[in-house]
Amino acid sequence: MKGGAIDMSKLDPILTKHEGQKEALISVLQEVQGEFGYVPEEAIERIADALKLFPSQVYGVVTFYSQFYLTPRGRNTIRVCRGTDCHVQRTTSLLAAIEQTLGIKEGETTDDLRFSLEPATCLGKCSLAPVIMVNRDYYGKIVPRELETILKRYE
């Protein structure tokens, strides 16, 4: 598994705090994801037990919200805008270039957990099209050859 064994004891303080609070499920999932970077599969039954829920309910909520991940995420998240303006300005070629450089497809994470590549419907910076975003930084009006320098900034 990517990233090796995980320390499940990190769950304890989160679960103790919310013992028996069914309604706290989403906050608990966010805290768990904050701790591990994702919601480990092994955590689901423990979360259900602590909150007096059933594992199927927890899994239902995890899969409902796009903010929760069941697999480890990269340390850095790249989003390539798929909005109309960006599309016209050929972000598709940017996406292809990133996919080739990192050896992953949209929605995937590199083996070294350095990058995750995520779809974005619109990043809201149409004036700068084509736009990509790494973590919280925007990069506008870029061409594929600039990518290497940009990605180098993120470890």
Binding site: I44, E45, A48, P55, S56, V58, Y59, T63, F64
Partner: protein, 892 residues
């Protein structure tokens, strides 16, 4: 009652406030199509097929969730409605495969039916398909989610009714689907294979594996499930002479639309090739086929010969908690009137004899005080010594639903059984220390002044003696014996005492001890102390194990009482029976099951007649049972299969299953219900009642009955509690005894206003340790019981394909720390030995078993737990101590 008036398809109609438009339409004979609606589920208005128009406002309303209101002008088929309905169905069809021709659901598909009613042919939308693999790795059901229309019925059934929560919605929007956690296959999820989801599914997304492509049934017969004491109503679905499926009888108050895995999928033993087809007689050491004439003549002459030589008391009969009331009645009549002995007993001796004894003394009547349906409305439930989920699945559903409604559940059981998942509090006591913790609870309740003084004063007697006895059972003292931490015991006492309608459910974890009668008395004490007997939903509820365990006891298949628990010494009852039966009755009590075996080993019992029981698996200390049976001069076994016991017989008589005869079973809540002949007897097999009659005639005693209903008429005349029970009254629904006369509606709960014996009797008891406790040589405790997928000695359930596939072999549950000490891994073989014998069995390493305790089920002859168990008996009920014996374990 207030009524609301509105217009429905042009007519003025009335309905009660709160009625939905859908219900009102149905009441008025107007059909509205639905896909996500089922009357047993909470409506959610998801599918939008039931849309109707309120012409007063022009609004389209989902009729299943919209309550009626004054002034509504409802049209269920306006052009607007039909257009909307068509669009909804077309959208569903757009993502539905066109594979109807090979779909097992065929013409039963609701989606297809509704599409056809709406005259939908080609769909105007482009096809957007889901592609999901078919999930078929379990033996019972297959899931093809590409046909799922997301009505949510499977999910809601699993959650609201079954309380298993194996599945929930996962993902979002078009990707939504019902899924287990992490999408593991059902057999790795909490799914219990009750099959409710399949029965609710409107399309072919869920279907029964064993029934696939078997086509539609040609006939359905309403009857009662033959597994366990719940007594669920079922329909046997037949294609000619073959049972091809089972569905729930939604009219039956016990189970409504629910069933368990055995009830729904355990039917293939009926037509199994192993069924006995002809009588067998042992000739030159081998069992050979014979004619009925020859077999019956031989049995009659041998029994007469042995009676002539050694007296009637050298013969013993074992009756069966699996056979009907009528057959149990006849067998005890056969023993008493034809043979002339009270040596008749059955396996209730091994399960609940101490309940009958203990509760009869405390309350005057030894049965469940309440009905199964009432459990759902209890506010506190104490379960002890009952693995309810596995042994009484449908009762467990009521418990789960009560918890979902807010009831508090206390479980006191050494093992972390499934129902603990739903518990407010679970306490694990040391096996065999029940009197101690029960006295401890009462000590706390009295000390903290939580008892019901008014009730105790008005309705009970001998309280002061109880108060004296429990004085020394302080939480500290009890912790030392039971291992239950003091504060937890205190919490349990407070929760129990806080209940307005607290009920206690118990089963063999309480009874199968040398102190079984004491345990039962203590439970009765606790319930009376808090005023919890004689009220709706609150009470003392022993869960009887087999389908007709209650009935077999009621019918007097017991060595010390006549039908209806009338005493042999009763000056009125005994002559009544003598007059009706035309014979002098033997006066002395007969021998109980284990005593019979001992007497046989000593040569005092020379012949046994066993109907539908398999002591070679079910009795304690099997080595001695085998020696006893082999020593008999004559053994007759009447059964549906060549069981381990039948293999030792001199004559084997083939009888029929519940599907091939008429009769009645009495379930654990005292409900007498009809079973009905669905198919002809297999080969030459005959119903037990006919065999007994034919045998009696050969022995010079006429038993003339043309139908079991005539036997029930005789029972009603002689048995006060069954006095009003006649077949014509049982057609629609069962009757709960006591039902003393033809006009009596039956009794839902007992001891209302007055105990059967008058005042409730407190019986103070002291704690006594189990007969055999762990020592250096045998350091572990062995406890035995059942598992969900099997039934009693396994002769039926092990011949059901699905049940056998999902649970094919015995597993011994061992705590991880014990396993580590023994160096045994999960799935490895262990050798378990007691002072009486040893077995090899596969280990299941699990937290379910507490440290120091190993649990085995007794269904499998290859690893027969009863080779190990201790035949030490409770002095009153004569029940053996199945739940505690000392063993040692090693890696095999």
């Amino acid at each position: 009652m207030e009524q609301i008036t509105l217009s429905l398809n042009g007519s003025q109609v009335n309905g009660r406030p709160g009625t939905t438009i859908l219900d009102l339409a149905q009441q008025n004979g107007i059909h509205i199509p639905t896909l996500c609606h089922d009357p047993h589920l909470i409506p959610i208005g998801a599918c939008r097929v039931c849309l109707v128009e309120n012409e007063a406002t022009g609004a389209l309303l989902a009729s299943c969730v919209t309550p009626i209101a004054p002034g509504m002008v409802i049209n269920t088929e306006s052009p607007k409605v039909l257009e909307a309905r068509r669009t909804v169905v077309e959208l569903l069809l757009a993502s539905h495969p066109d594979s109807c021709i090979i779909c097992d659901k065929g013409n039963r598909c609701q989606l297809r039916k509704i599409a056809s009613d709406l005259e939908i042919g080609q769909v105007r939308f482009g096809k957007t398909r889901h592609y999901y693999p078919i999930e078929d790795t379990n033996p019972f059901l297959e899931r093809d989610l590409s046909k799922c229309i997301l009505c949510g019925k499977c999910i809601r059934g699993c959650q609201e009714l079954q309380g298993a929560w194996a599945i929930d919605y996962a993902y979002r929007g078009f990707d939504s689907k019902p899924a287990t956690s992490l999408e593991v296959p059902l057999e790795q999820s909490p799914c219990e294979f009750c099959g409710l989801c399949v029965s609710l599914c409107p399309t072919g997304a869920l279907y029964e594996k064993m029934r696939k492509y078997k086509g539609r049934e040609t006939k359905r017969v309403r009857t009662i499930c033959p597994f366990c004491g719940c007594g669920c109503g079922i329909y046997l679905e037949l294609r000619d002479q073959e049972v091809i499926g089972v569905s729930a009888d939604a009219e039956n108050p016990v189970n409504k639309i629910s069933l368990c895995v055995k009830g729904r999928y355990g039917y293939d033993f009926i037509n199994h090739g192993d069924r006995l087809k002809k009588p067998l007689i042992r000739k030159n050491g081998e069992l050979e086929e014979a004619s009925w004439e020859e077999a019956l003549d031989l049995v009659a002459s041998k029994l007469e010969q042995i009676r002539g030589e050694s007296g009637a008391d050298s013969i013993a009969c074992l009756s069966s908690a699996k056979s009907t009331n009528e057959e149990n009645y006849l067998l005890q009549k056969f023993a008493r009137a034809v043979i002339g002995t009270n040596n008749v007993d059955h396996c209730a001796r091994l399960c609940h004899s101490v309940t009958v004894a203990g509760l009869a003394i405390s309350f005057g009547s030894g049965a469940m005080t309440n009905s199964i349906a009432e459990i759902e409305d209890a506010d506190v439930i104490l379960i002890t010594g009952s693995n309810t989920t596995e042994t009484h699945p449908i009762i467990a559903l009521r418990v789960r639903r009560a918890v979902m409604k807010g009831a508090k559940l206390i479980v006191i059981d050494p093992r972390k059984i499934d129902i603990t998942k739903y518990a407010t509090l679970w306490l694990s006591q040391n096996p065999g220390t029940d009197v101690a913790w029960l006295n401890g609870l009462m000590h706390i309740i009295i000390e903290e002044d939580l008892w019901d003084k008014d009730y105790v004063e008005k309705r009970t007697e001998k309280f002061e003696e109880l108060r004296e006895t429990v004085k020394k059972y302080t939480p500290d003292f009890v912790e030392g014996i039971s291992g239950i931490p003091q504060d937890r015991l205190r919490e349990a006492a407070r929760i129990y005492a806080s209940g307005e309608r607290a009920t206690i459910l118990y089963s063999m974890g309480i009874t199968q001890h040398t102190t079984g009668t004491d345990n039962v008395k203590s439970i009765a004490n606790l319930a009376m102390l808090c005023g919890n007997v004689g009220i709706e939903s609150g009470g003392v509820n022993p869960l009887r194990g087999q389908n007709n365990m209650q009935g077999a006891c009621d019918m007097g298949a017991l060595p010390n009482v006549l039908p209806g628990y009338q005493r042999l010494s009763d000056q009125e009852a005994a002559p009544k029976f003598e007059k009706a039966w035309g014979r002098r009755l033997p006066a002395n009590s007969g021998l109980t099951v284990v005593e019979t075996m001992r007497a046989a080993e000593e040569g005092k019992i020379r012949a046994m007649y066993i109907m539908g029981e398999n002591p070679m698996i079910s009795d304690p200390d099997l080595k001695h049972v085998e020696a006893a049976l082999k020593k008999l001069d004559f053994l007759v076994v009447q059964d549906i299969f060549l069981t381990e016991t039948a293999q030792l017989a001199h004559v084997v008589l083939p009888s029929v299953t519940f599907a091939e005869k008429d009769g009645t079973f009495t379930n654990t809540e005292r409900r007498v219900q009809r079973i009905r002949e669905a198919i002809d007897p297999i080969a030459e097999a005959r119903p037990d009642w006919q065999i007994i009659c034919q045998l009696a005639s050969r022995m010079g005693y006429k038993m003339n009955y043309e139908h079991p209903s005539q036997i029930m008429e005789e029972i009603a005349k002689l048995t006060p509690s069954y006095g009003g029970i006649y077949y014509d009254r049982l057609e629609k629904e069962g009757l709960q005894w006591p039902c003393p006369n033809r006009d009596h509606p039956g009794t839902r709960y007992l001891h209302k206003d007055r105990f059967t014996r008058g005042l409730g009797l407190f019986q103070a008891v002291e704690y006594i340790p189990p007969a055999e406790t762990p020592d250096e040589d045998y350091p572990y405790i062995l406890s035995t019981g059942r598992v969900l997928y099997h039934y009693h000695a396994g002769s039926m359930s092990r011949r059901c394909q699905g049940l056998d596939e999902i649970y094919p072999e015995s597993l011994a549950e061992i705590n991880p720390s014990d396993a580590q000490e023994l160096g045994v891994e999960d799935g490895e073989m262990v050798r378990i030995a007691s002072r009486r014998g040893e077995v090899e069995v596969k280990a299941k390493v699990t937290e379910r078993a507490p440290k120091g305790v190993v649990f085995m089920n007794f269904h499998f002859n290859e690893a027969a737990a009863n080779i190990l168990t201790n035949p030490a008996l409770d002095p009153v009920g004569k029940i053996p101590e199945y739940k505690v014996c000392a063993v040692r374990m090693e890696k095999a």
